[in-house]
Symmetry: C2
Amino acid sequence: MKKELAIIAAAAFLFACSPKTEQNMDTTKIFPKGESLSKDWFTGNAYLTPLVSKDKNNNFSAGSVTFDPGARTNWHTHPKGQALLIIEGQGLYQEKGKPVRPIKKGDVVNIPENIEHWHGATSTSTMVHVAITNYEGEEQVTWLQPVTDKDYDESNKAANNRL
Amino acid sequence: MKKELAIIAAAAFLFACSPKTEQNMDTTKIFPKGESLSKDWFTGNAYLTPLVSKDKNNNFSAGSVTFDPGARTNWHTHPKGQALLIIEGQGLYQEKGKPVRPIKKGDVVNIPENIEHWHGATSTSTMVHVAITNYEGEEQVTWLQPVTDKDYDESNKAANNRL
């Protein structure tokens, strides 16, 4: 009898606290998941909720970007840099010619100007970051080539070895 | 018997998912709680974890600010405005002469330049926001008088009536 109760209690615990499945996850834990980002600049499923727009005070825009597992930006540069505040999950950040950097909830990345780089989720985890992207005039980003599956797989392996 | 099982399952649910008590909450759900903010400019217990510093690209600083229940800023102004991204809990935002605005996780406040205002937790909830504060030269903020207990209590009541 005690065993039966323990099993039911354990089942209730698991049911109550298990994370939502991917297909039900329409919002992140903080901001809405938002609209799909273009396949021209992203591989896999990435989404944007704009939070703050450029105006007479803010020489940046800020938004919440959600990367489903496997999703990542193309390689790209920012003329005046970008700050990433990781608010959920685990991901990867890499500057051209440098080792991949694993990033996770609570981390901050201050991306320099004109440095070719990419960021995204790991192959097994969602990653959400707030991106604060500075403007140089009306320009924020120059998009380049996709991160190939081969390079992405190698980066995931390298990151796993460093965790 | 079924009743007994239901009670145990419910107890397991509550135990598993109840939030941590205040006294154990050393970190927010995302960023560290950080260092105490000065009683000169804040009423109650408020904390800051700096996230992004002013540099040649970023004409702002960004930080995670945690307000324990009852904590709030003094009245103050920003010469180039400030954006708040609320990432946890419930709080209050008020501009001088306007009704108090209840704010909660997922909300964004884009504060204009030179507008006297205050923000903080409600009397019963922690509130955490990322603050992105623009610079005008080397200036970010002008601190003014505290929000009195009387005005704070009235704002909490007004916010409760609007929820």
